[in-house]
């Protein structure tokens, strides 16, 4: 009987210890961001937003429509501004979270911008070749038309000049 109670007590003790250890492992850890952590995260977000901006600016300069990317970039910009303000207010936890959010929001923008840039450059080159070809053909046709027109006009001019020339009167 005593042996049974001992076993039960032992089992309970083991269960309690096991539950406590498991609870410690699985319990959500409190967020403890310091100034250095927050500063690092903000610097990373700053860098990511800057790179995204440069990529979008390049794409726009190449003639791409960057409206969607710009909207995404500005959402990240707004969150990043809040992160900076939270950091100045010594709210490092919120600053770190917002920096992470801004960092995540700009992920993929640089890649999308690069793709848009390539498409825009390809379109631009195609447009240039097409326009130059049309202009060249137009110019050749126009030159031929000018030469033919000149011949026609010259002939009419000469004919008119001959008609208006005073006739020689025979005196004999």
């Amino acid at each position: 009987m005593t042996h049974t109670w001992k076993s039960v007590a032992m089992a309970c003790a083991i269960s309690i210890v096991f539950t406590a250890v498991l609870g410690q492992i699985l319990a959500p850890q409190p967020l403890t961001y310091g100034a250095d952590d927050a500063s690092t995260k903000i610097a990373q977000a700053d860098e990511a937003v800057t790179q995204a901006f440069i990529a979008v600016a390049d794409a726009q300069q190449a003639g791409a429509n960057v409206s969607t990317l710009l909207a995404r970039l500005n959402e990240a910009n707004a969150v990043l501004a809040e992160a900076h303000t939270d950091f100045r207010n010594i709210d490092y936890v919120t600053a770190s979270q917002k920096a992470d959010q801004a960092f995540n929001e700009v992920q993929g923008i640089a890649g999308d911008a690069e793709s848009l840039k390539r498409n825009a450059e390809s379109d631009s080159n195609g447009r240039l070749v097409w326009t130059a070809s049309l202009s060249s053909v137009g110019l050749i046709l126009f030159s031929v038309a000018c030469l033919l027109g000149w011949r026609l006009l010259k002939r009419r001019y000469m004919k008119q000049a001959l008609e208006t020339r005073p006739e020689k009167v025979d005196q004999t």
């Binding site: 979008v56 710009l70 707004a78 049309l134 110019l139 126009f142």
Partner: protein, 185 residues
């Protein structure tokens, strides 16, 4: 009757002119014409969305509203930061970024204008300036101004823009709203 030489010249000139018109679309794709003056605009409007009625006599726990706007006329995409600062009469006008209390960031295309309503108030309980709901502790010593008989502070909006390489630089534009903080509550 027109001389043959003159006629030939007139015809050749007309042909060249029309030839240039045909070439114009291609030339337009290659040649970049000089653009106009490049600049950015920073403006603050009063609560009625006009350049009047700006908050001046302020007291604690009252909310004041202005409209802050940035316009891009730089010929391309620009990334801007507007720093909101709070200074007394003796502090330097353009100090460090660290002196800013609040900031707005926006990327704008050429000819785009960004505008938003900015609210601010002074919280007596928190001894803070509240900008757009963000409470920012402000520790300022404001001296009595004998000339105008009052205590004055300035809410400053500074425009910075991305230098195109790695950092933001001051864009030589700021707007300051003088606030008379000596009004009894």
């Amino acid at each position: 009757m027109i001389e043959m030489g003159d006629f030939k010249l007139l015809y050749a000139a007309s042909c060249i002119l029309l030839g240039l018109v045909i070439l114009a679309p291609t030339v337009a794709l290659v040649v970049r014409l000089p653009e106009g003056e490049r600049f950015s605009e920073l403006y603050v409007l009063g609560p009625g969305h006009m350049a009047e009625g700006y908050p001046f006599n302020v007291s604690v726990n009252s909310v004041y509203r202005v409209f802050l706007g940035v316009g891009n006329h730089m010929g391309g995409l620009e990334d801007y930061v507007v720093y909101v600062k709070f200074r007394n009469q003796t502090e330097s006008l353009h100090g460090d970024v660290d002196e800013s209390l609040f900031e707005y960031r926006v990327a704008l295309r050429d000819s785009d204008v960004w505008e938003r309503e900015v609210s601010f108030s002074f919280s007596e309980r928190e001894r803070a300036l509240v900008v757009d709901g963000y409470s920012v502790a402000v520790e300022k010593i404001v001296a009595w101004n004998n000339q105008t008989s009052g205590f004055y502070c300035q809410l400053l909006f500074e425009l910075w823009h991305f230098d195109g390489v790695s950092a933001f630089e001051y864009h030589n534009r700021f707007i300051g709203l003088w606030l008379n903080v000596s009004v009894p509550t």
